[in-house]
């Protein structure tokens, strides 16, 4: 007796992974860094992550609706949450709530969906969000906190929430008591004021290499990044190129004049270099596809960051560097096609 079957193309095996699983692993890899962040700077970051995620999902939902796309697969792919978490990690922990709202609107509506949605965006949405917020609201975006160990006063979960929602600091002295310039800021203004580096670094704000607390957060981000490397979610080329180029390019400057140029490792462990090397520049959608292309892309991010730190107007330049390299990615891809079999 003959029997009929459904037909479907090869391969006839269940797929190994899904976009959602990839994104979840990225989120999982961020956990150690986020915990370290909370440990050193208080619970503000957790509130920011939740806020940004809620806004991101809200705009994702609205845009999918408007574009007539199926909701379920795209809401459940966690890509909007990854964008939100990466953004939240870049802003001051007590930044007002509406910054998240405006920034996530730019990330999800403009940077993502107006370019065609998941997989089609040219620019890294989290970095677009960060740059829009930084340029539009410079004061709110630079009101950083000192590490808890150095703070005279610190805020708990409820107080942090109230600061984020109301902008009012419930302490005598207000913002001035709790906010402090970042190590990179201190460095930049110090050097510009003609002070020597060892002198600047001789404040409690600095640790072994980068800022106190910051360098340990960077370490924990690196641990998460190594997990992603192990799981082959990211390839080694981008992180190696970002960190390698920062070290190699800053080394001769430091050797020539250690009084006004920071130690290469200080560059690596300050600001967002480690986070960018493992989590931001590795975004596959806006990066390069070939291995050689990824090396060039990563090196570009590292070098542009250094240029902005040294000669630019901002203390850190990772976001600008990533966006500039996003623009260059298609061109790099064009010239770095790998050799085909038999070619």
């Amino acid at each position: 007796m003959t029997r009929s079957f459904d037909v479907s193309g090869a391969p006839h095996m269940p797929p190994q992974t899904t976009v959602a699983k990839v994104m979840l692993q990225v989120l999982l890899a961020l956990v150690p860094g986020v915990l370290a962040y909370t440990w050193f700077f208080g619970p503000g970051i957790l509130i920011q992550i939740i806020l940004a995620s809620v806004f991101a999902l809200l705009f994702e939902f609205l845009m999918l609706r408007m574009r007539g796309r199926p909701l379920k697969p795209f809401i459940n792919d966690y890509s909007a949450v990854v964008t939100a978490v990466l953004f939240a990690l870049c802003i001051p922990p007590l930044a007002p709530w509406w910054i998240s709202c405006i920034a996530m609107m730019f990330a999800i509506v403009f940077a993502k969906h107006l370019y065609g949605g998941l997989g089609q965006n040219v620019f890294n949405p989290a970095m677009v969000a960060y740059v829009v917020a930084l340029i539009s609201f410079p004061q709110a975006m630079t009101s950083w906190l000192p590490p808890l160990a150095l703070a005279e006063q610190s805020l708990g979960l409820v107080d942090s929430l109230s600061v984020i929602l109301t902008g009012q600091v419930p302490l005598a002295g207000g913002w001035d008591v709790i906010s402090q310039a970042t190590p990179l800021d201190t460095l930049k203004t110090g050097v510009e004021a003609g002070r020597m580096l060892p002198e600047i670094r001789n404040t409690p704000l600095f640790g072994d290499f980068g800022g106190k607390g910051w360098e340990w957060i960077a370490n924990w981000f690196a641990v998460g990044g190594i997990f992603l490397l192990y799981k082959r979610i990211i390839s080694w080329q981008v992180p190696v190129a970002v960190i390698g180029s920062v070290v190699l390019v800053s080394l001769p400057f430091w050797l020539a004049d250690p009084d006004s140029n920071p130690l290469p490792l200080q560059h690596v462990f300050s600001g967002a270099i480690v986070l960018a090397a493992f989590f931001i520049a590795t975004d596959p959608v806006t990066g390069c596809v070939s291995n050689r292309g990824r090396l060039i892309f990563g090196a570009g991010v590292g070098i542009i960051t250094l240029i902005i730190r040294r000669w630019g107007g901002y203390p850190d330049g990772v976001a600008f560097a990533v966006l500039l390299m996003n623009m260059a990615a298609p061109l790099i891809d064009r010239y770095t096609r790998p050799r085909m079999y038999g070619e």
């Binding site: 079957f5 090869a10 998941l118 990066g287």
Partner: protein, 531 residues
């Protein structure tokens, strides 16, 4: 490296194991079908022998409805393809379109034979003294016996051997690397008939004019290695080596296997014979031995019937034309949750709509998968350019870019990014987190490239024709103008001559008149006329 250095390195084939780019380590699933010895299933009620079993054209039937055919009698012919023979003795019931085992899923012309159970052979013509036979005779025997590559590509063996001989092959590679999961027919054949495989290899080597034979098997086939190297034929032969290679899919692909054995890549657009190598499947080699030493045409093959959808998986030696349903019945039928029927392996096999399709030369495996094996089809997501596809691609292509180019009609880029080098192994498809059916897209893209090449050719031809016509028209016009000119000249000349004649006549008349008046002047007039 130039080509002579390449060939020198190719002669070292198998001495060192190299790597190929990408690939996957897959679960084997082979043991379940290797428990029982291989048997012939009982004769089915009807055998359906498709006339299209090779790469190339459909064969012409040589028999009519109602004819009695003998086992091994040629029933289809196709130049320059391989011949098709009757697998049984019996009566031709019909020659009609039936469902075939073919990736297209379309029905095609088949010869339907009802066996009479007598298994009466036609007269066979072996080349018993093959050691003294010429290469041409050996190659002709392969064609006469309908031999074709049994690894799945079914390229006619005689054509490959002739090409290999003409291009000075030095090494014959026998491919025993069955890298797709589930399939075990070659493994069983190597275990059970090592002598025949090695005899076939010697015959092929002689026909090719090659010196060495390298038999490649997977590193987990310990029993196979013992069987091959322990066989009598192996002990009597020289220059035959058995090489174990690591089991990474798709290592059984010709180009990947050559890379693993030699470290060289077959040039793009070229063939293994460019390196002085020819690859044949181990089953083809055994069939060569049968065809040459016994004169037996290719009418049966080892087939694996396996998968979680089969009650008792095993291997058969099945006649071509045996319906798949008959083999499944001989394995105690399907299990309850069978969901998909595939010919070939899970990575590259094609699905069957119905199990009345027959076993053909290309059918190495019938795979019945259960619902758990294939999982519900999931929503296709957009490409996130994660690059996993490029990491596993054995042809070192960029599948994500090719997909983008195909879906955006960027055909020039598709060509320059090397779509034609794609071997459709399915690795990219399998690892894609967005579940994009990449191989389907690439097949479509290849078809589109072929179509565009044909259209280009036609357009080029039309342009040439137009230009030639234009040139011809101009030439004709010119010729006509010249002709007219000549004619005019001619007429002018004629008119001039006429004028002259008239003038002469006039003068003559004048003269006559003058002579009539004064005959003394007549002499002068005559002189002037002569001048």
């Amino acid at each position: 490296m130039n080509s002579s250095q390449h060939i020198e390195r190719a002669q070292e084939a198998g001495k060192r194991i190299h790597h190929f780019h990408g690939g996957l380590r897959l679960k084997h699933h082979k043991k379940i079908s290797c428990q029982d010895p291989v048997e012939r299933p009982p004769l089915p009620d009807l055998l359906i022998v498709p006339l299209l079993q090779h790469a190339g054209d459909t064969a012409e039937p040589l028999v009519h409805v109602g004819d009695r055919v003998l086992k091994g009698q040629q029933i289809g012919q196709c130049q320059p393809c391989a011949a098709i023979h009757s697998p049984v003795s019996g009566i031709v019931e019909a020659i009609e379109d039936r469902p075939m085992s073919h990736p297209s899923g379309q029905p095609g012309p088949c010869v339907v034979i009802r066996p009479d159970g007598k298994e009466q052979w036609t007269r066979l013509a072996p080349l018993t003294d093959w050691l003294n036979a010429s290469a041409d005779d050996l190659i002709a025997q392969m064609q006469q016996c309908g031999l074709a590559g049994l690894g799945g590509a079914v390229f006619p063996t005689h054509a490959k051997t002739r090409d290999g001989r003409e291009r000075k092959t030095h090494t014959l590679i026998l491919n025993g690397v069955e890298c797709e999961p589930y399939i075990s027919c070659d493994e069983m054949l190597m275990r059970e008939q090592p002598d025949k495989i090695i005899l076939g290899a010697r015959i092929l080597r002689r026909a090719l004019g090659a010196e060495r034979v390298v038999i490649a098997i997977e590193d987990q086939m310990g029993i196979v290695q013992q069987a091959l190297t322990g066989s009598d034929e192996f002990a009597q032969s020289e220059n035959i080596t058995v090489v174990k290679v690591p089991a990474i899919y798709p290592e059984g692909g010709e180009r990947q296997l050559i890379q693993v054995l030699t470290g060289l890549e077959v040039p793009a657009g070229g063939r293994p014979s460019d390196l002085g190598l020819v690859c044949q499947n181990v089953a083809t080699s055994a069939a060569v031995a049968d065809a040459v030493t016994a004169g037996k045409p290719l009418i049966e093959r080892y087939v694996t019937v396996t998968g979680n959808g089969i009650s008792h998986p095993r291997n058969f030696k099945a006649l071509f034309g045996t319906p798949v349903s008959h083999l499944v019945d001989c394995c105690s039928g399907y299990t309850k949750d069978v969901a998909r029927l595939v010919v070939g392996g899970p990575m590259m096999g094609y699905p069957l709509k119905s199990d009345d399709a027959p076993v053909v030369k290309a059918s190495n495996c019938v795979l019945a998968l259960s619902r758990q094996d294939i999982e519900e089809p999931q929503a296709e997501m957009p490409c996130i350019r994660c690059g996993e596809c490029a990491r596993v691609c054995p042809a070192t292509l960029l599948p994500q870019q090719l997909h983008l180019q195909i879906t955006n009609d960027l055909w020039k880029d598709v060509e320059s990014y090397g779509l034609s080098a794609c071997i459709e192994c399915g690795c990219c498809d399998y690892v894609c987190p967005s579940h994009i059916p990449l191989v389907d897209w690439f097949r479509f893209g290849k078809g589109e490239l072929r179509k565009r090449a044909r259209e280009n050719e036609a357009a080029e031809l039309a342009r040439k024709r137009f230009e030639e016509r234009e040139a011809r028209l101009i030439r004709i016009k010119q010729e006509r103008a010249e002709k007219m000119q000549r004619r005019k000249q001619l007429l002018k000349d004629k008119a001039l001559q006429q004028d002259r004649i008239k003038a002469s006549i006039q003068r003559a008349e004048n003269k006559t008149r003058a002579r009539a008046k004064d005959p003394g002047e007549a002499q002068d007039g005559g002189q002037s006329h002569d001048s």
